[in-house]
């Protein structure tokens, strides 16, 4: 039983290591996209905005 558990632990650990690398990449992609979108939004905000109250 312990041997089977060892194999499971090995699979989970390798999976986690790969996942961690993937997550870090995703984090950077999202971070840069959010930054880029904010820059675009600020650029557009220079034009007057229509309010819903109008």
């Amino acid at each position: 039983m312990v041997k089977g558990f060892f194999l499971l632990a090995m699979v989970v650990t390798i999976g986690l290591a790969i996942l961690t690398a993937l997550l870090l990449v995703c984090q950077w992609v999202i971070y840069f996209r959010v930054e880029q979108t904010m820059v675009t939004r600020r650029h557009r905000a220079r034009t007057p905005r229509r309010s819903a109250n109008e």
Binding site: M1, F6, L19, T20, Q27
Partner: protein, 435 residues
């Protein structure tokens, strides 16, 4: 026996990790798409009438800013009715409401201030307001939840995408006192992560929404049909979310709608608030457990399964793993003086390879926990900083462990309430702080 318990505990924790990864994957997919969208605010096809309800019980410290924010919402003033409830107040809440709304009332805005003395807590106020409100939709804001000026616009914008199925739409809450101390910084991280990862993923993957206590709209006629809020529910928001899903309707997420909410600044206030939430969630699990086995909408089954797994199975596994860790460390600490003591929880003294593998596994789990928080922070401009990374690491060993203490306390309290036939629905109000 020891080995079996160790393996069961660790396998359970891996199952919880698998669930967290599914949710995280959903959130990443959502944010990879949404992070490219530049938010625009075109005029809406129509502006449904909205009754904004603010339940306030001794809220003199925070009510003025909330009322002023509600009066300056970017939504046609003629389409909004403001119902301010001073519920059993012993302070200046009602007077402050009158002062803050005087100019608006003089200008013809629809504002009613109700000094209420009834029972039922927040759910009682909402049920009273349901009889008084005239708007097509009810919007609920807690007294400390100051909406951003476009909050209501975004809620209605989302609603109009599918008004047949969306009977409720909810936004997100940001921590307005996040920089106050270590506790509020941790709460801020937790709230950003739950809303930017959990809420977004669950909506994106399954079209499941959970009404928060504040910053949401709900169709008035639907609320009347289901009989309003359950009096005495500790978490009336979760309770009504289940009722909506049972009716086959959806609670949509408008992730751009934001309100700024105050969070507890002391450990004592935090503990009392979370204990109420945890007890409320156990109540919800109790009320809905039967839905795992009967014929009901699949979203209700999934949501019930999620609550049961989180609050019963995974919590128990984490408690067991903490007991294992602490007892092993304790024996290791005293072993130099008592060498005859054996370490209680092992896979056999010689199985060093497995020990090292599990240690690496734990370190990776901590890293995944930190990266998850940082993904949530990255979705919000200006929040992804180096400080947040260190805070995530510190919170793993401190703040996150508090959740276990609260859960165990709440589970015990609910169990004792049941055994002794005690009324466990006593509502403890969260203390407010001066901004």
């Amino acid at each position: 026996m020891n080995e079996f318990l160790l393996m069961t505990t660790l396998t359970s924790i891996w199952c919880s990790l698998a669930l967290a990864i599914v949710i995280l994957a959903g959130a990443i997919h959502f944010w990879l798409r949404e992070s490219r969208v530049v938010v625009t605010m075109p005029p809406l096809d129509r502006y449904p009438t909205i009754s904004i309800i603010v339940p306030a019980h001794n809220e003199a410290l925070v009510i003025e800013r909330t009322v002023r924010a509600l009066l300056t919402l970017n939504y046609p003033a003629t389409r909004v009715e403001l119902l301010l409830y001073a519920d059993n107040c012993q302070d200046q809440t009602a007077q402050i409401m009158r002062r803050a709304t005087a100019a608006a009332r003089a200008a013809g805005r629809q504002v009613q201030i109700v000094e209420r003395t009834g029972t039922g807590g927040k759910a009682g106020v909402l049920n009273d307001a349901l009889k008084l409100a005239r708007g097509e939709y009810l919007a609920v804001y807690d007294a400390d939840a100051m909406p951003e000026e476009n909050a209501l616009y975004f809620l209605v914008q989302k609603l109009l995408e599918n008004p047949q199925d969306y009977v409720a739409v909810f936004g997100r809450n940001k921590t307005r006192n996040a920089q106050q101390n270590f506790l509020t910084r941790c709460i801020n991280q937790e709230i950003v992560t739950s809303q930017r990862v959990q809420h977004c993923a669950v909506w994106h993957l399954f079209k499941i929404g959970r009404i928060p206590g504040t910053n949401f709209i709900l169709e008035r006629s639907f609320a009347q049909r289901i009989g309003g809020w359950r009096d005495g529910a500790l978490t009336e928001d979760t309770d009504i979310s289940f009722t909506i899903m049972k009716a086959g309707k959806l609670i949509a997420l408008a992730h751009n709608s934001e309100a700024f909410q105050q969070e507890p600044e002391t450990l004592r206030d935090y503990y009392r608030q979370r204990l109420r939430w945890a007890k409320g969630n156990y109540q919800v699990v109790g009320h809905n457990f039967c839905h795992l086995f009967d014929r009901v909408a699949w979203r209700v089954k999934l949501e019930t399964l999620y609550y049961v797994c989180t609050f019963l199975w995974f919590n128990l596994a984490i408690v067991c793993s903490d007991v294992i860790l602490v007892s092993n460390l304790a024996v290791m600490a005293v072993r130099p003086w008592f060498p005859q003591l054996a370490i209680p929880w092992t896979f056999g003294g010689g199985n060093l390879l497995l020990t090292h593998l599990l240690l690496l596994n734990w370190v990776l789990m901590i890293i995944v926990y930190m990266v998850q928080i940082n993904i949530a922070m990255a979705t919000q401009y200006g929040q992804a900083t180096a400080d947040q990374i260190w805070l995530a690491l510190a919170s793993y060993f401190t703040y996150a462990q508090l959740f276990i203490v609260v859960s165990v306390h709440a589970a015990g309290s609910v169990l004792v309430d049941r055994l002794l036939g005690r009324d466990g629905s006593h509502w403890v109000k969260t203390r407010r702080f001066a901004d």
